[in-house]
């Protein structure tokens, strides 16, 4: 493929893919989607960046070390189970509420969405650590997976 076309496509697609992945993660409760597929799609978006612009560009755009991302995701998923315990229900029970919005009768928010975001981050971090790790090739002797 022509590298110019490739770059253009990659540049245009990346934000779209990321946006779609986030929508999938947060809206997954009502439409097909969810944290797993969202996180994987986001990883695919970064993989596209890597194919087009190289490994270090993708790593730069990720901003956070992938292992940290995975750990943070796990932590978010864990924490999303805590509010229910404060109400005396068992760990990871769901809590839902409505956020009033001026243009509609309210936005549904709940701890399962937070859980999905946690899964999203964990999957993204893990998949990125696979992809970035594997693409290091001959640079493997450098001690850091990131930069």
């Amino acid at each position: 493929m022509n590298p110019v076309v490739m770059h253009t496509v990659a540049r245009m697609m990346a934000p779209v893919l990321l946006l779609v992945s986030l929508v999938l993660a947060v809206r997954g409760h009502d439409i097909p989607g969810g944290g797993f597929v969202g996180g994987l799609l986001a990883a695919a978006a970064f993989a596209l960046q890597m194919v087009a612009f190289g490994r270090s560009a993708a790593r730069r755009q990720l901003r956070v070390h992938p292992t940290r991302l995975a750990a943070a995701g796990l932590l978010v998923a864990l924490l999303s189970g805590v509010p229910a315990m404060l109400e005396g229900r068992s760990f990871l029970s769901s809590l839902w509420g409505q956020v009033p919005l001026p243009w509609s009768d309210g936005l549904k928010v709940g701890t399962p969405q937070l859980f999905d975001v946690g899964v999203y981050l964990a999957v993204l971090g893990t998949a990125m650590s696979f992809i970035l790790g594997m693409s290091r090739g001959e640079e493997t002797t450098a001690p850091e997976l990131g930069r």
Binding site: P32, G34, F36, L40, V123, F130, G133, M134, T140
Partner: protein, 118 residues
């Protein structure tokens, strides 16, 4: 349809297991992917299939009425796909690292090479 899917699942199992039996780590990874697909399709078939009708409750309704595809195997398969991916990635990284160390992907050679380098 179950008949044909069952035959396919059996064929996928045979293909995946055949790959596992070769002395090549890369083939082994291929075999794992095939086995993963085979298991997922097995789970999918085991409780009967339903054409169309995803397990999505229509907007505004309280409950889903028949017919619909069974959501529970789907939930299982969804996690299985992702876990499979993680397993495969780990294996590929191991292959990659082992190949870097030894320059081979033959399990028999790998064994002696890794022993020697200890």
């Amino acid at each position: 349809m179950e008949l044909f899917l069952a035959l396919t699942v059996g064929a996928l199992f045979a293909a995946g297991l055949y790959c596992l039996m070769l002395h090549s780590v890369v083939r082994l990874a291929l075999g794992l992917v095939l086995l993963g697909s085979a298991s997922n399709l097995l789970l999918f078939t085991v409780n009967g299939l339903q054409r169309g009708f995803a397990p999505l409750v229509p907007e505004g309704q309280e409950a889903l009425t028949r017919p619909f595809a069974d959501p529970l195997p789907q939930a299982f398969i969804l996690t299985a796909i992702v876990i499979n991916f993680g397993l495969l990635a780990l294996l590929l990284v191991l292959v990659h690292r082992a190949a870097q160390e030894t320059g081979t992907d033959d399990t028999r050679a790998l064994r002696t090479e890794l022993k020697d380098s200890q």
